[in-house]
């Protein structure tokens, strides 16, 4: 069964209630009754197994075998039986690793399959998946989907999956339920019926429905002069090995460069290096056209000089939040630039309107939804009007509505003459916006 709905409809909350991990009355209100095999879910731990969205915070122990065994131990399964189940579960999810393999060396897709194995080993009658592929690259999505397909093949357990990318799961489910925010169940039926009836409305609310892709506006402006040039560039994390070497490319005004490549190829490191946040390991980054009187290498600019020249948007928005409210968060950039308070509040209003944050100015950044956090982190970079924006996975895990808004916003900026470097796995995003693509190979150098 696939559970759909706009963000804020309570899909995740429902899953957590089914899993019996929602907490007691002191943590919120509940009305009515939810029964799992005729018992309250908290009393039936182990009947329902839950896999969550974030791969990192689901790994519990340091070794693969121990991590899978953890759930069985909690259920009081005898030792011999535990190890039998550990082996068969790892096999079922396609993770035939030594049992003492360190969990911190797994990729995101492998971590999610490990979490799935840990849940399967508990032999749940109900398998609950809460956006299990939202934080994964395309190959990770396929890995996890295929693993779920394998373990639900014989239909001896119930599957409930929350996801805003419908096409990933459509072949696996025989029922779709749509929840509305505060409206309860809006539709319940076979995938064909529900999507035919509710597809357009779901798409408008941000669900990725195959027949209703978000619309993309055409770009109007041709690329201009070069604003940044990488010459024989080598990149590395501080103290780490060189991830790429000999990179040569230009970024031009009014153009978007997409940087793609598998995990571990150094995409994020390249983004940080172009953004003036990491020193090149070799070669140089020359941004003289942006420097306006400063040295040509962005890494030599001061922090406050950087913000009006190159804006960086990190993959995890939470790393970039500094303030207690959205308004304060937005006012940091203008303050760093020493703008007058009138100018600052104009810019805050303008940027907040553009990124649909006006209603959220008093909210705490950490309490926002995933899409709102992403919009805020882009807004904090745009408010200082840098001519070059470097973004790391801007569309990762976003619903189709936020996706379309970001594409529209970036198109506007490009047409105004700004430049964009986007690190991305998202093929649709590359199609929609990129003028050039730099595809990094895993540690072997790059091709354009």
């Amino acid at each position: 069964m696939l559970l759909l709905g706009a963000s804020g409809a309570g899909k995740s909350t429902l899953l957590q209630a089914l899993a019996g991990v929602l907490g007691g009355d002191d943590e919120g209100d509940s009305v009515g009754e939810l029964l799992l095999d005729e018992a309250r879910p908290e009393r039936a731990r182990g009947r329902a197994g839950l896999v969550l969205q974030d791969p990192d915070s689901q790994v519990i122990l340091a070794r693969v075998g121990d991590d899978v065994a953890f759930g069985c131990e909690n259920l009081g399964i005898p030792r011999d039986e535990i190890w039998r189940r550990v082996r068969s579960s790892l096999e079922a999810v396609g993770l035939p690793l030594p049992l003492d393999f360190p969990t911190d060396r797994l990729s995101g897709g492998q971590k999610q399959r490990l979490a799935l194995a840990g849940v399967l080993a508990m032999r749940p009658g109900l398998l609950l998946l809460d956006e299990p592929t939202a934080n994964l690259d395309p190959s990770g999505v396929v890995e996890v989907r295929d693993a779920v397909a394998r373990v639900t093949e014989n239909r001896d357990s119930t599957l409930v999956v929350v996801e805003h990318r419908v096409d990933t799961w459509l072949d696996l489910v025989d029922r779709v339920i749509v929840l509305g925010a505060g409206e309860g169940v809006l539709a319940d039926g076979s995938p064909e019926d529900v999507l035919a009836r509710e597809g357009r409305r779901l798409a408008a609310e941000g669900v990725w429905v195959p027949r209703f892709p978000p619309t993309v506006a055409a770009r109007t402006r041709a690329p201009g002069r070069t604003v940044l040039r990488a010459v024989d560039l080598g990149i590395a994390r501080p103290g780490g090995p060189e991830l790429q070497e000999g990179l040569d490319f230009d970024v031009r005004a009014g153009s978007a460069l997409a940087i793609t490549g598998p995990n571990g190829s150094g995409k994020s490191t390249l983004g940080l290096t172009l953004g003036g946040l990491l020193s090149p390991a070799a070669g140089s980054v020359d941004a003289l056209p942006l420097a306006a009187g400063l040295a040509s290498a962005p890494i030599r600019w001061k922090s406050r000089e950087l913000v009006s020249r190159i804006g960086s948007v990190f993959q995890d928005p939470e790393h970039q939040f500094l303030a207690g409210t959205v308004r304060e968060e937005l006012s940091i950039g203008p303050r760093v630039l020493k703008l007058s308070s009138a100018e600052a509040s104009d810019r805050i209003d303008e940027t907040a309107t553009r990124l649909r944050l006006m209603g959220l100015l008093a909210a705490n950044p950490f309490t926002l939804s995933g899409g709102e956090k992403r919009r805020l982190s882009v807004a904090t970079a745009l408010i200082t009007r840098p001519p070059l924006l470097v973004t790391d996975e801007p569309t990762f895990g976003q619903d189709s509505r936020t996706w379309a808004e970001l594409v529209a916003l970036f198109s506007e900026l490009l047409d105004e003459g700004s430049s964009l470097v986007a690190i991305t796995h998202d093929a649709a995003f590359v199609d929609a916006i990129a003028d050039g693509e730099l595809a990094l190979d895993a540690r072997t150098g790059a091709r354009r």
Binding site: W83, P98, L306, H319
Partner: protein
């Protein structure tokens, strides 16, 4: 029982000894040596330990490298006490408040030896402790509550993510334009942000653990057996022997001062 995973193939038998026994052994030696402040007991303990290290096959090179912080700390403590320790006996040298005497020198020697005698075995024993094995031992041998033991173990794994978070926070501050102000203020802000991030991570981890039945009504089983058998008893016995040898030689030599008494 075949097929139960052990932590990587290792040769030295000491590694497979239950961590609880290692903890107990280090504790026995430490407590015995803290009872007196003389140099004889420390020297005897240290000598016994070095012989045991060679016998157990602890590589001298590896030991020296890993023990460097302890050796440096011991040297610093020694110099400080030699200069400023309680003065008695003949004075060799004075400069401002520094006064090197027979008494301060022997106290310094005793301190250096003692730090090494307590530190080195603890180091050798703990170098080989795997946190998961320790948690298994604490839960199964000492019967500490599983909630506490496994909660700590899972949190320990999260601590490894701190360093990555810290680096990202640092770069993010530069990207936001606020990295030019004073280092103290910046680090304070970053530390607070790290705290917020780790609490959020922690609560997510707690949900994931609960979703796997942690803290549920069932009586928990342990997938990995943690045994306390002959090798463990032997190790603790060796620790007791070292402690007993140190104390008795010191008493026989007349240098034993219980808790620093005269």
């Amino acid at each position: 029982m075949t097929g139960i995973p052990t932590a990587a193939p290792r040769i030295q038998p000491i590694i497979r000894v239950n961590p609880v026994a290692k903890l107990a052994t280090a504790l026995v030696i430490g407590v015995a040596l803290l009872l007196s402040l003389d140099w004889v007991s420390a020297l005897v303990a240290l000598a016994c330990e070095l012989v045991l290290f060679v016998w157990a096959g602890v590589g001298a090179k590896r030991l020296v490298l890993r023990a460097l912080p302890i050796v440096v700390a011991a040297a610093f403590a020694g110099v400080t006490i030699a200069l400023y320790g309680r003065a008695s006996g003949a004075t060799h040298f004075t400069f401002l408040f520094a006064r090197v005497t027979d008494g301060s020198l022997s106290l310094a020697a005793a301190t250096v030896l003692r730090i090494l005698a307590i530190g080195l075995p603890a180091l050798v024993l703990f170098l080989t402790v795997d946190p998961t094995d320790l948690a298994d031992g604490l839960g199964q041998v000492l019967h500490l509550p599983a909630r506490f033991v496994l909660g700590s173990l899972a949190a320990l794994r999260l601590a490894g993510l701190f360093l990555d978070d810290w680096r990202s926070l640092e770069l993010a501050r530069r990207a936001r334009g606020t990295a030019d102000r004073g280092r103290v203020r910046r680090y304070a802000g970053q530390a607070f942000a790290l705290l917020v991030l780790s609490i959020r991570r922690g609560s997510k981890l707690a949900t994931a653990m609960e979703a796997r039945g942690f803290g549920g009504p069932a009586r928990r089983t342990w997938a990995r057996p943690s045994r306390f058998g002959w090798p463990e008893l032997l190790l603790v016995l060796v620790g007791l022997l070292v402690a007993a040898a140190a104390v008795s030689v010191a008493i026989a030599a007349g240098s034993w001062r219980f808790l620093g008494g005269q």
